[in-house]
């Protein structure tokens, strides 16, 4: 953590690829640590909101890194991608081990449980999302923020300085893309 996240972000934005890698791996371990810590604190049968976790991560890291730390909107752009990686890795390892592991991926919110996505589906969504990121990276980012991290349209609009309508349209487009991709790959 000594080469600070702020400096890694700065270097990464100038095109330093190794800095980008270091940034993502640092963020990964930070978020992982935080998730573990939070889950340990909360006890049985509690589902953590990813959004809350990210907010806390931001506050935590910004406090440590000092005033040069990027604003929350920029931070979330990076953190959302890392968060997806973390969720997917976990889902995959669960598939491998069948059970156990540190935490369990479940549906969030008060939706009925039938809507919950299983680990395999999650993994396929992530693959399709990687492809989308090559074609329209902004759409992919909206999915990371909305689906994996649970931000609302309004929040994303605020972060990216877009209108809520635009974000919603981006989201719908991404859904079309991913839905088609998943349908094609399952055939």
């Amino acid at each position: 953590m000594e080469s600070t996240l702020s400096s890694l972000i700065a270097a990464s934005e100038k095109g330093d690829r190794s800095a980008t890698e270091a940034l993502f791996s640092t963020l990964y371990s930070e978020l992982h640590r935080l998730a573990k810590q939070e889950l340990a604190r909360h006890g049985v049968a509690v589902t953590l909101s990813v959004t809350t976790l990210l907010h806390e991560a931001y506050l935590d890291m910004a406090a440590r890194d000092g005033p040069s730390f990027p604003d929350q909107a920029r931070f979330m752009g990076y953190a959302a991608r890392v968060m997806r990686g973390l969720i997917i890795d976990h889902a995959r390892s669960r598939q491998a081990q069948k059970r156990g592991g540190l935490f369990e991926i479940t549906s969030l919110g008060s939706e009925p449980a039938e809507n919950a996505i299983d680990d395999r589906e999650l993994s396929r969504i992530s693959d399709a999302l990687d492809k989308l990121a090559e074609v329209e990276p902004f759409l992919a980012e909206v999915v990371d923020l909305k689906f994996f991290c649970g931000f609302s349209f309004a929040e994303i609009a605020g972060m990216r300085n877009l209108s809520e309508r635009t974000v919603q349209r981006m989201w719908e487009k991404a859904r079309i893309y991913l839905h088609r991709q998943l349908r094609n790959s399952s055939v």
Binding site: A45, V50, H55, I87, E104, I105, A154, E164, H179
Partner: protein, 767 residues
């Protein structure tokens, strides 16, 4: 997707944007016309739109992943209940669908595990006992608490009536309910909360996910009193951590300031949360706006920032979608919210619990009045802002010069001596001579401000004389408390005119004390000083205190001096002014007209007190929105004042400032500006540079500049004004509707912070 597919997507993408921004009907037309240009493209688009429909129907990506700790509990038995499936998740814990495992009742219920981090491992006995109290809360709109217990692993749980339905905000949006229907539904919520309050149970965690609307349209409130159950657990040693945790769990979005600062929770706490809920239902937005915020930012906003008005919220990002969900347009929404609904919601969101509705029932009553198009009880805040722009004058307007000072203070003494000697009773003669000597001595002392030996060349200002005299009077003239009190009163007046309200206040308080001790509570001088003190409090924005003391004085004067005595009328007139500033315009107008009629009769139309009452009444009419009447009366006032006292007189200036504000409200910006500029030019000449009245004129000039689109000028003027206004009268800039046009400007935030700092510095300094 192959490269080919990717290329194809790139082509289709902009068309898709267009297609998705159209309504179903428009889209069909659009596709038809596209068919003619490029049928292949149209076909591909149709395919993608079908994909969209399919995704929509499946609820594709609707539910994101969350992280769950621990093993899957499905099928396990907790107490007498078997867990069927998880239903949801909240800050307080997870929720399961459950049924009785012993088959004694068919009914399904919801079993809620409480977050261990929040409750800790607590005593089963205590938890059950608390649960029983809540279980007694029986109301058709409140989900029943069936049971409470602690699982073998030590996790506390509650068993609740299972309620199927939608969160109230989703229900309203999904059914495209109009504003009135939303309010009616919300009123049902209020009924339930009022019932709980009547049973001394505060909800503490009201938010959309705790207000469920069932398919049949009935409202059910969940989790009543559970937040308290959580907060009360644990000993005092853990209190800090628990409070912190509590803050987190209670979603800062709906938490009242007192919940975040750890102050006392009362029924007013629920009123606040209900206000936020109503705001969300009506505008689709949280009062703090839709921008992303960390919990810390939100806490800061809740505790420190003034809430915006509904009518402004509805014009922000996404307003069209918001309006569509309410089956109307955003402009219509804005018009509907402006006024009473703005005022009602604003009253629920006050930072100070005491300023909110006194009860949920009072809140509900106002909403019902709104629906019936009747007058609501809450007074608009804009009134208060407007009121700050009006000038309340003081009765004795003295422009400070040494001469005036001597006249003011010496005059008191002189009159007193004359009055006393007029009685010419032999046995008093010696005492009177002594008194005259004492006064002369005191006044001579007043001018010994600087030591001639030390600083011979220094000019002595009137201010220095006054400062010294007000010090000396604390100890001087001790043998003659009556003269002492009158001198203090006179000096208090002068300080008020100088805009040094705190100094004035302490002198006047002391004067009342001294005179009371010497001549009693009902002495006319005591009563008149009380009225003056009220005036000084008004200048500081302390209207309620002012009203109280002026009412006290009036009561006394009516009894001792009679209802039409000039002093009585002066106090009545002052009270009318105070009431206007408190927003009680009807009362103020009634009283003001009565005073004016009596003064014209008793004192004459050109008496200075009569003229002051004209100005007050004109200002009140302005606040009531009766601008033409106000302008006419103020015009008459100014003419009289110019003729009788001249254009530089403070009273003339105050009337001019008030008239300018009326012109401003009439939309006559050029005239308003001209009059304010004229006022300012004179004030600059006759008042100290930092006099609050001058600052007020500058502030109002800033508002006119903002309204006329001259933002550079506006920011410069407003900044200056805020520096010099007395802190309590600094307007809440971020909520001043006259400055709406500046909101987009980055400098505005700085201005808000500047004003807030002035408020804060006031809050910290002791009175």
């Amino acid at each position: 997707m192959s490269t080919q597919d990717a290329d194809q997507w790139q082509i289709l993408s902009p068309y898709l944007d267009q297609a998705l921004s159209l309504s179903d009907e428009e889209r069909a037309h659009w596709l038809l016309s596209l068919d003619e240009d490029d049928s292949g493209l149209a076909a591909q688009l149709r395919e993608l739109l079908d994909e969209h429909r399919a995704a929509e129907q499946e609820g594709f990506l609707k539910t994101g992943p969350g992280w769950n700790a621990g093993p899957n509990l499905t099928g396990q038995t907790i107490g007498a209940y078997q867990l069927i499936s998880p239903i949801g998740q909240g800050g307080m814990g997870s929720l399961w669908l459950a049924e009785r495992s012993d088959g004694r009742f068919e009914r399904r219920c919801a079993l809620k595990f409480l977050n261990i981090a929040l409750v800790g491992h607590i005593g089963e006995e205590r938890f059950k006992r608390e649960g029983t109290i809540l279980a007694r809360l029986s109301h058709p709109n409140i989900a029943e608490l069936v049971d409470a217990g602690v699982s073998p692993s030590g996790q506390p749980y509650l068993v609740l009536e299972y309620v199927e339905g939608e969160h109230i905000d989703q229900y309203c949006d999904n059914h495209r309910l109009g504003v009135e229907a939303r309010i009616r539904l919300f009123l049902e919520t209020l009924l339930a909360v009022a019932h709980a309050h009547a049973n001394l149970i505060v909800h503490r965690d009201l938010k959309p996910s705790n207000v469920i609307v069932r398919k049949d349209g009935t409202v059910k409130l969940l989790d009543f009193g559970i937040a308290k159950l959580l907060a009360d657990q644990g000993g005092p040693a853990e209190a800090t951590e628990l409070t912190l945790e509590g803050g987190r769990a209670l979603t800062p979005h709906f938490a009242a300031p007192e919940q975040l600062t750890g102050a006392t929770i009362t029924t007013a706490t629920d009123v606040y949360a209900l206000g936020v809920l109503l705001c969300v239902l009506l505008t689709g937005q949280h009062p703090a706006g839709s921008a992303p915020r960390s919990p810390a930012d939100l806490v800061k906003a809740t505790v420190e920032m003034e809430s915006p008005r509904l009518s402004d919220l509805v014009m922000s990002v996404g307003s069209r979608a918001t309006a569509e969900k309410r089956a109307t347009t955003s402009e219509k929404l804005r018009r509907l919210f402006r006024g009473d609904l703005d005022t009602i919601v604003n009253k629920t969101l006050k930072k100070d619990p005491q300023e909110r509705y006194a009860s949920v029932t009072a809140f509900a009553d106002d909403l019902r009045r709104f629906l019936r198009h009747e007058m609501i009880s809450a007074r608009p805040d804009t009134m208060a802002y407007r009121a700050r722009k009006f000038v309340r004058r003081n009765r004795t307007t003295v422009v400070l010069s040494t001469l005036a000072l001597i006249a003011a203070i010496g005059g008191v003494a002189g009159t007193l001596i004359q009055a006393q000697t007029a009685r010419t009773q032999r046995d008093l003669a010696f005492r009177e001579r002594d008194r005259a000597t004492r006064i002369t001595d005191f006044m001579t002392g007043m001018f010994k401000v600087s030591d001639p030996n030390e600083n011979a060349a220094k000019d002595v200002t009137a201010r220095e004389i006054l400062d010294k005299a007000s010090e000396d009077i604390n100890t001087g003239l001790e043998k003659d408390p009556e003269v002492r009190a009158q001198m203090m009163h006179a000096m208090g007046n002068v300080y008020t005119n100088l805009g040094l309200y705190e100094r004035a206040q302490s002198l006047l308080e002391r004067a009342i004390e001294v005179n009371r001790a010497a001549r009693g509570t009902w002495d006319p001088e005591t009563l008149s000083t009380m009225d003056t003190l009220g005036g000084t409090l008004v200048q500081q924005g302390r209207y309620a205190e002012a009203e109280k003391i002026q009412r006290g004085a009036l009561e006394g004067q009516r009894r001792i001096l009679g209802p039409e005595h000039p002093d009585t009328l002066v106090t009545m007139g002052d009270l009318a002014g105070t009431l206007a500033l408190e927003g009680r315009l009807e009362e103020s107008e009634k009283l003001g007209r009565e005073v004016l009629e009596k003064q014209r009769r008793v004192l004459g139309a050109e008496n200075r007190h009569t003229i002051v009452s004209m100005d007050t009444l004109a200002a009140t009419l302005g606040l009531e929105g009766r601008l033409v009447e106000s302008q006419r009366l103020e015009g008459e006032t100014i003419d009289l004042e110019r003729r009788l006292y001249g254009p530089d007189h403070l009273g003339t200036l105050m009337s001019m400032a008030n008239q300018a504000d009326t012109l401003y409200l009439m939309g006559k910006y050029a005239e308003a500006r001209q009059l304010l500029q004229q006022t300012f030019d004179i004030q600059r000449r006759v008042l100290a540079a930092n006099h609050p009245e001058t600052a007020r004129t500058i502030y109002n000039l800033g508002c006119v500049a903002a309204r006329s689109g001259k933002s550079d000028e506006a920011f410069s003027l407003l900044g200056q004004a805020i520096d010099h206004l007395s802190p309590r009268t600094v307007p809440k800039v971020d909520n001043d509707p006259d400055l709406n046009s500046l909101h987009g400007d980055p400098r505005f935030a700085k201005l808000v912070a500047h004003a807030a700092r002035r408020h804060v510095s006031e809050a910290r300094c002791p009175l």
